[in-house]
């Protein structure tokens, strides 16, 4: 699938006037995610930025049914929806759990791992803004090394957890990474995931202006620079077969990654990083990219 802008559905599922922050990467990603899902989807969302986007009772800004659920429970909630729809013979719905990185990497990983092991038939989308942004920018296990957060005031020491690898290790039929800076790639991946049976996992890198510290108009610039520096890599693993996609695929074919410093300097959260930390992060990114290249060549 290589959807063009002209082929995108005109249907909008997010109404104007949401409670998301200005320049919110999630709003943009969500717009394309919902376009790809269409009408026949039931959502379940834990406490997170997306709860805020959906609005305050009794009004909502989203034109799809959403069952709000407790923080740790996204995948279990999706499991319950899937089970009930099956029991009631309503089989034409795509069930979608959408949680942030805190709700996925941290508090929700147990229920998610269990659902993936059962290969429960739902799509799980993790919108990864690399911290607890809704509660005031605390560190999560998705926060990159070197980032300042309100609970790592002298920067985070540990590297970001590789959630995509963890999910892939469950042997589920579809795992992919995406970015709102590349909306067509994101759209195609959600559309692809919709057609597959079993647990599907898509992790979307979500630049967060207030949490990361960049001007709201730089959202796309940030998303693109994340991919250009291989801080974020676009790929998919379909039925065990790996391939780089979109911009990451182009870089692999011809060209090379930009130094991570170009990405770091755009954001307040990395202000305290020492040159040693930056070197260390660069090495980590380079080694990771090398592994992706090897997997890509094997499969290409």
């Amino acid at each position: 699938m290589n959807t063009t802008v002209m082929q995108l559905p005109e249907e909008e599922y997010i109404l104007p006037g949401t409670r998301a922050c200005s320049g919110c990467g999630l709003s943009l990603a969500y717009r394309y995610i919902l376009k790809a899902l269409g009408d026949k989807a039931i959502l379940t969302i834990p406490a997170s930025c997306l709860t805020v986007l959906h609005g305050l009772y009794p009004s909502t800004s989203v034109r799809l049914t959403n069952i709000n659920t407790a923080f740790a429970t996204t995948a279990a909630s999706a499991t319950g929806i899937v089970a009930a729809l099956k029991a009631l013979g309503k089989t034409d719905y795509t069930v979608v759990g959408i949680a942030g990185d805190g709700g996925t990497f941290d508090i929700g990983i147990q229920a998610l791992s269990a659902a993936a092991e059962r290969n429960t038939d739902f799509l799980y989308i993790c919108y990864d803004n690399e911290g607890y942004m809704n509660t005031g920018t605390q560190r999560s296990s998705a926060t990159p090394m070197g980032a300042h957060t309100t609970t790592t005031p002298t920067t985070k020491i540990e590297h970001k957890k590789d959630m995509l690898a963890i999910m892939e290790a469950h042997g589920i039929p579809y795992v992919a990474s995406a970015s709102p800076a590349y909306p067509l790639d994101l759209f195609d991946k959600v559309k692809e995931a919709r057609t597959i049976q079993g647990t599907r996992f898509i992790q979307v890198n979500i630049p967060c202006a207030p949490g990361w510290g960049f001007p709201t108009e730089d959202l796309i610039k940030l998303g693109k620079m994340a991919v250009d520096t291989a801080m974020w890599v676009l790929y998919e693993v379909k039925a065990g077969s790996f391939r780089l996609t979109g911009r990451s695929r182009s870089i692999a074919r011809r060209g090379q990654n930009k130094p991570v410093g170009q990405y770091l300097k755009l954001q307040e959260r990395f202000r305290q990083m020492t040159p040693e930390q930056t070197d260390h992060l660069q090495t980590w990114v380079d080694q990771r990219w090398e592994r992706f290249l090897q997997r890509h060549q094997v499969s290409d």
């Binding site: 009772y57 989203v62 069952i67 659920t69 429970t73 929806i81 029991a87 147990q110 229920a111 269990a114």
Partner: protein, 398 residues
């Protein structure tokens, strides 16, 4: 013809769920209730029960699966005990707040630390403020009947129900149980109609963020605030007694076993001394009352069948002639006394009834309680005439 089977409490619970036609079951192993999901898994895999059985990784997920499945419109069931129930705590609030008619079997067991696998009621009593109804069973017949009635009550008022029974004492003890006929159960318990339609024409945002003050919807109609919804739950529970009694009577008309009562009473006529308790201990208490009667004491037993909603009015009536009230609690609210004792005192306060009340904490972590134990506790209480301060720990020397 009435079918009687010799089964334990766990099998009775599983059969109750099966007869109720549950459509989604999610449960996790924990002693002493594990036999319930095991039995249901067998029913589902053999095709005897047409349901989705979800083998979750935790009790927290078990209840979450039930919550979302119930929201979509399936009749759901789970079972747990002790730490499993404690692990569900967050979702107990969620289920009641979301007004979902979930029925849960609970094999009462003491909580760690330190570990015990044996019976007391600390687990369910600790969840009394979650908004769930709680009924306590005296025997295995009450387990199967209470689960079937539980769905009818819960689905009428949209409040979940915990059907509690003593771990091991009932869960692992076989006794004759009359099996309700499936056709009659189907007539008694109509199909579940959810209060929301997730696949309706209008998209819904279910259980969103609320504000403290009411807000108007798109048509300008004021909608409830968070506190308004909390008030509705309370008001519903205040009116739940009538529904419980009505369903209990209906059940009796169809199956011959009447449950048109909130309190189980034994030899209370003319009694001035009442042993008050819950669950299977009511059986030992009734033997103790017999022994006390033989000694010339006018003793009887009141057992709370329903603990939430709390049957305050029924208690005031049952205890109106009572001079000595001896409360046996298989739980303790640390730093005060047994929960049923406190709540009973509060219920009596309004009516001005002032019996001499003595509280005994009994049977924690499976410590055996015999009729003789209860009798000697009662005699001690009668002799001391209110000079006992605080709860007494029955039979605990060290």
């Amino acid at each position: 013809m009435v079918k009687v089977r010799i089964i334990n409490g766990n099998e009775a619970a599983a059969l109750g769920a099966k007869l109720s036609g549950v459509q989604v079951v999610a449960a996790y192993p924990i002693t002493p209730q594990s036999k319930i999901p095991e039995t249901l898994a067998k029913y589902v895999e053999s095709g005897e029960l047409k349901a989705e059985f979800i083998r979750v990784e935790s009790e927290h997920s078990a209840l979450t699966v039930c919550i979302s499945a119930s929201t979509v419109g399936a009749r759901v069931f789970t079972a747990t005990a002790a730490n499993g129930l404690a692990y569900m705590h967050e979702q107990l609030h969620w289920a009641a707040g979301a007004r979902l008619p979930i029925v849960m079997a609970l094999a009462n067991r003491g909580l760690g630390a330190p570990w015990t696998i044996f019976n007391d009621m600390q687990d369910s009593i600790a969840q009394r403020d979650t908004g769930w109804m709680q009924v306590y069973c005296r025997d295995n017949q009450e387990i199967i009947d209470s689960i079937i009635m539980g769905y009818k009550i819960s689905e009428q008022i949209h409040v979940p129900m915990m059907v509690c029974f003593d771990g091991f004492v009932l869960s692992h003890t076989v006794m004759p149980v009359e099996l309700p006929d499936q056709e009659r159960v189907d007539a008694f318990l109509p199909a579940y109609k959810p209060h929301l339609q997730v696949d309706g024409p209008e998209p819904l945002n279910i259980n969103p963020v609320m504000l403290a003050e009411p807000r108007a919807d798109a048509r300008g109609v004021a909608c409830p605030s968070y506190m308004g919804f909390r008030m509705r739950l309370q008001k519903t529970l205040e009116g739940a007694e009538d529904v419980i009694l009505q369903v209990g009577r209906e059940f009796g008309d169809l199956f011959g076993r009447h449950y048109g009562y909130l309190l189980w009473e034994y030899r209370t006529d003319g009694a001035d001394t009442i042993l008050l308790t819950m669950g299977s201990l009511a059986n030992e208490a009734s033997l103790a009352a017999d022994q006390l009667r033989e000694k010339g004491y006018k003793a009887g037993v009141v057992a709370l069948r329903v603990f939430r909603p709390f049957p305050a009015e029924a208690l005031r009536k049952a205890l109106s002639q009572v001079e000595n009230l001896i409360v046996f609690d298989k739980n303790i609210s640390y730093g005060y006394e047994g929960a049923t004792c406190t709540e009973t005192k509060a219920a009596l306060f309004d009516s001005g009834l002032r019996p001499v009340i003595t509280n005994f904490i009994v049977g924690l972590g499976g410590k055996s309680v015999s009729p003789a134990d209860l009798q000697s506790a009662a005699l001690a209480a009668l002799q001391q005439k209110g000079r006992i301060n605080g709860p007494q720990w029955l039979g605990v020397a060290v």
